[in-house]
């Protein structure tokens, strides 16, 4: 059977896309979710902070996850079903309780989310004791398991997710001894550090690098370096945050073009991958954004899929390649097919930088603004359609 749409991943992006497609009249949408229940990462973050952008409510993660699932009614959600390969032309190979099978659809959305970069991939020095956890593992142990993996960890990172881990720690009666940040200032918006320090009693140490982890069976301490001086901080755990990677192994091994800069699939401005049957949305496009951003991308991608199904989406084409230059880590969409509507680009800076954000079309500046960029903060810019007419290549830089 050839369905209208298959959605890989039942998180905010995938479920929002399913809802959108069902509302557009498609009654054969299939969501494939590898976990025993759909909902994605919010399922375990029991602190509030979810639903604002898409439902205009302030919910806890589990409530948000339930609302997303309920709102996707009309789509078939198959849990316990893992996509193991992408097949050219709109197919997926899946492993489910019934065994292995291949499923096909006119459109397939990749919405597989992210994972945290583990200790090994960061090449962190030291011993390898129990007690070094990613934020996802930490929140699941606390909220789903009701257990405390440690009492006095350090938290590595100061972006939004690190602060989420701080709230999770507080819930569990865990008292982090410090938050460590390599950059000279915290990544999350101020006054995150003030809140951490004054409301939660956790010192935030910027310009501090984790040098090594110490301990035998369990973590006993970390060694940190600040301004050339090393110091030992006693602790019994390490929470790793701040370096997320799209869950894009299927892309790297499959028929779609992979962008090493974002770590996700390359898309055009219709969320379409290089194989035009495939679309992608949510965190699989780039390192983590908050759930609202992922959900809105899911909705936008689903609209493009509905158009593709109706035959009204502009035909796939080479398009105008977009490049991130000096000062920028990445930019996406990686290809633009200009039409009548303005096109939005998302980018991230390589580090904190004050400068001018410039868009160059065939080498000429077509848009420019002043920007104080922080690492891991999204930069967005909108290009009027007129700017792109007749352009062969586009680059964005922060100089």
């Amino acid at each position: 059977m050839m369905r209208s749409a298959i959605i890989i991943g039942g998180g905010p992006a995938g479920l929002s896309a399913a809802r959108t497609l069902v509302r557009a009249g498609h009654d054969d949408v299939l969501v494939l979710e590898r976990n025993p229940e759909a909902g994605g990462l919010p399922r375990f973050a029991a602190h509030p902070g979810w639903g604002m952008l898409d439902f205009h409510r302030l919910w806890s993660g589990p409530t948000y996850a339930r609302k997303l699932v309920a709102a996707a009614r009309g789509a078939e959600i198959r849990t316990n079903t893992t996509v193991t390969a992408l097949l050219p032309g709109g197919g997926v190979e899946v492993s489910g309780p019934g065994g292995m099978e291949r499923l096909w659809a006119h459109t397939v959305l990749l919405a597989a989310g992210i994972r945290e970069m583990p200790r090994g991939a960061r090449l962190l020095s030291g011993t390898r004791p129990w007690g070094v956890l990613g934020t996802g593992a930490f929140q699941e142990l606390v909220y789903a398991g009701g257990v405390r993996p440690f009492q006095q960890p350090v938290i590595l990172g100061t972006e939004l997710v690190a602060f989420s881990a701080l709230l999770t720690a507080r819930h569990a009666g865990i008292r982090p001894v410090a938050m460590l940040e390599e950059a000279p200032r915290i990544t999350a918006r101020r006054p995150g550090d003030w809140i951490a320090h004054h409301l939660l009693g956790v010192p935030v140490r910027t310009a501090t690098r984790l040098v090594a982890i110490e301990g035998g069976a369990r973590v006993e301490a970390v060694r940190v370096e600040q301004a050339g001086r090393q110091e030992r901080i006693a602790c019994d755990g390490v929470i790793l945050s701040g370096r997320f990677v799209p869950e894009a192994a299927l892309v790297r091994a499959g028929p779609l073009q992979f962008d090493a800069a974002t770590g996700g699939p390359a898309i055009d401005n219709h969320f379409r991958c290089t194989d035009p049957a495939f679309f992608a949305a949510g965190n699989v496009l780039r390192p983590v954004e908050h759930s609202g951003a992922a959900a809105l991308e899911g909705i936008a991608a689903a609209r493009a899929m509905a158009q593709a199904l109706a035959g009204t989406l502009p035909a796939p084409a080479q398009g105008i390649p977009v490049q991130a230059q000096g000062g920028l880590r990445y930019v996406y969409p990686q290809r633009l097919l200009p039409g009548d509507a303005p096109i939005r680009l998302c980018a991230r800076a390589s580090g904190e930088k004050r400068g001018r954000l410039r868009v160059l079309a065939d080498g000429e500046v077509v848009q420019e603004r002043r920007l104080h960029a922080l690492p891991d903060r999204r930069i967005t810019l909108t290009l009027p359609a007129a700017v792109l007419r007749g352009v062969r290549s586009l680059s964005v830089e922060l100089a």
Binding site: R34, P36, N80, T82, T84, S95, P97, G98, G99, M100, R115, E116, P118, R119, G120, A121, L123, L124, S125, G126, T127, R128, W130, L133, G134, T135, G136, A137, E140, L141, V142, A144, G145, G146, V147, R148, P149, A172, G173, A212, G216, V245, E247, A249, R252, A253, A260
Partner: protein
């Protein structure tokens, strides 16, 4: 049976790969054997972290005991692996010359291999190397092909040996540290952290504690000088970038940095060779790991785009001597198996056969062996079907390595259950993939907690 008779015919101190292979050997030969290990599980020492290569011994010192044990170990593994469900990737190896000096050394490598009886080793041209390994940097100058070198798995092999030993009536005693002992006529009474243990013959396979344990019987003739090796494991997408094991031309101190596949579909770069005092902790070090990656990229430039899955380090039980330190002391009713430095995974089955002969020679004939019971270990490689591919599978808990709940539960039960989290990971591969437990830590804990106490504490309540 005499009340004073020792409880066991043989006590083996240390459940590394060498101890496990010896345990299997003598259990199969009909002795009552105890395998005594201070850790909570087998493989608590050197054997848990190595390159997992099955060597031919082509580069060993001709005439050494190590060369003989490797040759016999290599042959026995090939004969055994199918019956025990153990992987064998017949990748072959290529020693690659990157400089004129390297190139000049190749004929000597071939000659030594032939001295060692590894007769299929031959020099091949740069072009031949490039055809076989198109991803190697193109400034290579030539190579030596070693067809018999292979990739195996460092964890399932000793597990299978130990399980076969258990099936033949052997006893495994985890969490039992040997602290001393005294010899009487009938044999030894060993002092252990779990009380005394008597055995008629003691085998010292204590790896990096080999000299300390040897001191129970005599002043140790060798001194352990641990030599650390660090590794970087690359993502499964890197697997196609090398098909043979890529070896450098070795120097005096080390075999150098190797690039090879793993039985689980990753690509491995390492090891380093670093002398250290500490016998217990093998730390990883960012600068060294970056150095390994740089060397890897030097050989295979496409590695630059490959993500790192994890890093690890192991400690070779080296001594001041190059060769294995194996000796039977009939008067002391003691057998020393020390300094199994950098080839013990390969050599273990050969060492076991060698010990079998030593025993028969010095301690009398062995009882008639019973028919061997085969105890295959579950398949964890992608060569053969795994549970996640079968209809009716239960839920996948570890999504990166596709480990099902049933596989995890099974590893916590049975004749040799996982004794700790590391043992569970080594038996199932859960938490060992790309996300390293970001997504499955809790679900693994939930299944393991009743079997591996003390990892986590309930939030309301005192202790688990």
């Amino acid at each position: 049976m005499n009340a004073d008779a020792p409880a066991y015919d043989m006590a083996i101190i240390g459940a590394g790969v060498v101890g496990c292979a010896i345990f299997r050997e003598f259990s199969l030969a009909g002795l009552r054997v105890a395998l005594v290990e201070r850790g909570a599980d087998i493989l608590s020492g050197a054997s848990k972290a190595n390159s997992a290569l099955l060597h031919t011994g082509f580069d060993a010192i001709p005439g050494s005991l190590e060369a003989a044990c490797m040759r016999e170990g290599h042959a026995r593994y090939q004969a055994l692996h199918q019956g025990l469900g153990l992987p064998l990737l017949r990748t072959g190896a290529i020693v690659v010359a990157w400089s004129p000096a390297d190139l000049a050394a190749l004929p000597g490598i071939v000659a030594r291999a032939h001295d060692n009886g590894v007769l299929d080793v031959r020099q091949i041209s740069a072009e031949d190397v490039r055809t076989r390994e198109p991803h190697l940097a193109d400034d290579l100058l030539g190579g030596v092909l070693v067809p018999g070198e292979a990739v195996i798995d460092a964890w399932s092999a000793p597990l299978a040996y130990a399980r076969q030993g258990l099936a033949m009536g052997g006893t495994f005693l985890p969490n039992t540290r040997v602290t001393g002992g005294s010899q009487a006529e009938a044999g030894w009474t060993l002092q252990t952290s779990q009380g005394p243990l008597s055995a008629s013959v003691v085998v010292n396979c204590a790896g990096n504690q080999g000299d300390a344990v040897e001191a129970i019987a005599r002043p140790s003739p060798f001194e352990i000088r641990p030599r650390k090796g660090q590794f970087v494991v690359l993502d499964k997408t890197a697997y196609p970038l090398a098909s043979a094991i890529i070896l450098p031309v070795p120097n005096e101190r080390t075999k150098g940095v190797v690039i090879c596949r793993t039985a689980y579909g990753n690509l491995l770069v390492g090891p380093t060779a670093e002398e250290q005092q500490d016998r217990e902790n093998a730390t990883v070090d960012q600068a060294m790991l970056e150095g390994l990656l740089a060397q890897g990229r030097r050989m295979i430039p496409a590695l630059a785009a490959e993500p790192v899955t994890t890093t690890y380090a192991g400690l070779r039980p080296a001594t001041q001597f190059k060769d294995y330190q194996i000796e039977a002391l009939p008067q002391r009713r003691w057998i020393t198996v020390g300094g199994i430095r950098s080839t013990g995974l390969t050599g273990s089955l050969g060492i076991a056969a060698h010990l079998h002969r030593l025993y028969a020679q010095h301690f009398g004939p062995l009882p008639t062996p019973a028919d061997p019971v085969l105890t295959p270990v579950p398949n964890l490689t992608e060569e053969h079907p795994r549970p996640w591919q079968r209809p009716g599978r239960d839920e996948i808990v570890c999504h990166c390595e596709m480990v099902t709940r049933g596989e995890i539960a099974a590893a916590l039960q049975g004749p040799l259950p996982a004794g700790d989290l590391g043992g569970l990971k080594r038996r199932t591969r859960c938490m060992m993939g790309r996300c390293q437990g970001f997504y499955c830590t809790w679900r693994v804990m939930e299944i393991a907690a009743p079997h591996v106490p003390g990892l986590v504490t309930p939030i309301q309540g005192s202790s688990a």
